[in-house]
Amino acid sequence: MTTTSSTSDVIKTTGLRKSFGEQVVLKDISFSLREKENLVVLGKSGSGKSVLIKCIVRLLVPDSGQIEVFGNDITSLDSEALNAMRKRIGFLFQSAALYDSMSVRQNLEFPLRRVKKMKDRKLITQKVEEVLLNVNLEDAIDKMPSQLSGGMKKRIGLARTLIMDPEIILYDEPTTGLDPISSIEICELINEIQKKYKSASIIITHDHNVVKITSTRLLMLREGVIHAEGKYEELKNSDDKWVQSFLN
């Protein structure tokens, strides 16, 4: 266990490298996520954005480099410590990844019963209703995932993430496949959640709305390396043509 990172850094990666066979997806990625900030990671499809956040929760194991989460090197944790760490991190998948054999209620109850080992039925119901209220979907409680629209699925996925009271939330393309109105609603929801839960977030996207509405700071990935980093306003006025083409 190491505690080398700055106290305000909740995630810090150093020299992160990940390849699949011959294809090197991430080359020497170093960045940090500070407390209570929304870090938006922008880049073309296939630039390694999703791979980056999957490495952070060790769904993928990096080839080399260090990932510190709350000061602990996640690559060297044993399975118990890793599980304990994962309980502090929420992950919203691109497809929302709702358990399709369970209703919305069961989807939300599952992490409470299985991970938090909560037994009190009243307390569980109260918690489920509270998170559903936070994502404005109280009426969907008894629906099955197949009965929900794409935007609703994302909201329920987010509710399932929030029910664990995470300190860090990782969003993998939260607005992909949504219409512009739903997309803006999700962005506003991300901001509301950040204020309410005081969580730090990494948001993977190539949606301009997400960048404009949610970002505290931007990280632009190009061909596996960090091409640009800074605030939206700073990068928008950058002379770099590639950055310009993305942000304007």
Partner: protein
């Protein structure tokens, strides 16, 4: 080079250039085959290693008594209930057909009275366990392979993993244990229903009462028949559960892989059933018959 009847220019094997080209071609072909063979054998060994590690992980969870009881009971109900009607129908037909087909030859030798005992031994020792396990592999094994494969492809397993819900324990251990327990139970059902089918078969051309039939069917059956048969049922169940979970849990991405996982779960489970059966017969023979 020569012009062939099809009008294509080909290397003449007897020309010096042709011979060299042919040797080179053959060498390339042989080396390609060797490489392919090497790849096949290394992927087989990798799969074997993965499978062994997967089984070790299951056993570790079970011995540490990390059993998701709620999900295990739910799976017992699902896999048992799902297969019960099919297993009973098959068992009944199996007993009936075996009796009808065996009867003429036994009549010919004047051994018609041996019919219930013969059917009883066949059903209890071999046909009941193997046929039930094969049906279970087809019905439940494919379902587990497809379900877990689909969960893998749609990132549901990853979602459980990142929330710290230990999906291996929740999804795999519960299903393997449920299969291990439910196959013997289903085999017992299939055996009893099979004997009832046989009783019907006997009564098509003869006249026997139920109590007499059952006492004649069960009379020649000893402990050495029952114990190995029941023991191998547990092994069949464990193998079907483990193989099906393995195929689904490690399905690659893409919807095509869900079908492939379901299909290979059935094929690999069926193969395992026959291998276990062959080994069980050998061990039983050594243990009980010297």
């Amino acid at each position: 080079m020569v012009l062939t009847t099809t009008g294509r220019m080909e290397v003449h094997p007897k020309s010096p250039h042709g011979a060299t080209a042919l040797i080179r071609k053959s060498t390339v072909r042989v080396s390609k085959k060797i490489t392919a063979g090497k790849e096949k054998s290394s992927s087989f060994l990798l799969a074997l290693g993965d499978g062994t590690y997967f089984t070790w992980k299951i056993l570790k969870e079970i011995f540490k008594l990390r059993i998701p009881w709620g999900e295990f009971i739910r799976q017992c109900y699902l896999v048992g209930n799902k297969s019960l009607s099919l297993v009973m129908a098959t068992g009944f037909i199996m007993g009936l057909v075996l009796t009808i087909q065996s009867r003429p030859i036994l009549v010919e030798f004047g051994a018609e009275s041996w019919l219930p005992g013969m059917v009883g031994i066949s059903l209890l020792r071999e046909m009941g366990p193997v046929i039930t396990a094969l049906i279970f592999a087809g019905k439940v094994g494919s379902g587990i392979g497809a379900e877990l494969g689909s969960m893998k492809v749609t990132e549901q397993i990853d979602a459980m993993e990142v929330s710290g819900a230990r999906p291996f324990n929740y999804l795999v251990v519960s299903r393997v244990l449920a299969c291990t327990l439910m196959v013997p139970v289903l085999v017992i059902f299939a055996d009893v229903i099979g004997l009832l089918g046989s009783y019907l078969g006997v009564n098509i051309k003869g006249d026997s009462n139920l109590i007499l039939f059952f006492s004649r069917a069960l009379d020649p059956i000893a402990f050495s028949d029952l114990f190995p048969a029941l023991f191998k049922c547990f092994l069949f169940g464990a193998a079907i559960g483990a193989v099906s979970c393995y195929k689904g849990y490690y399905a690659s991405s893409g919807t095509e892989s869900v079908g492939r996982a379901a299909n290979s779960a059935v094929v690999a489970s069926s193969l395992m059933i026959f291998i276990i059966d062959a080994l069980a017969v050998q061990f039983t023979d050594i243990l009980f018959n010297g």
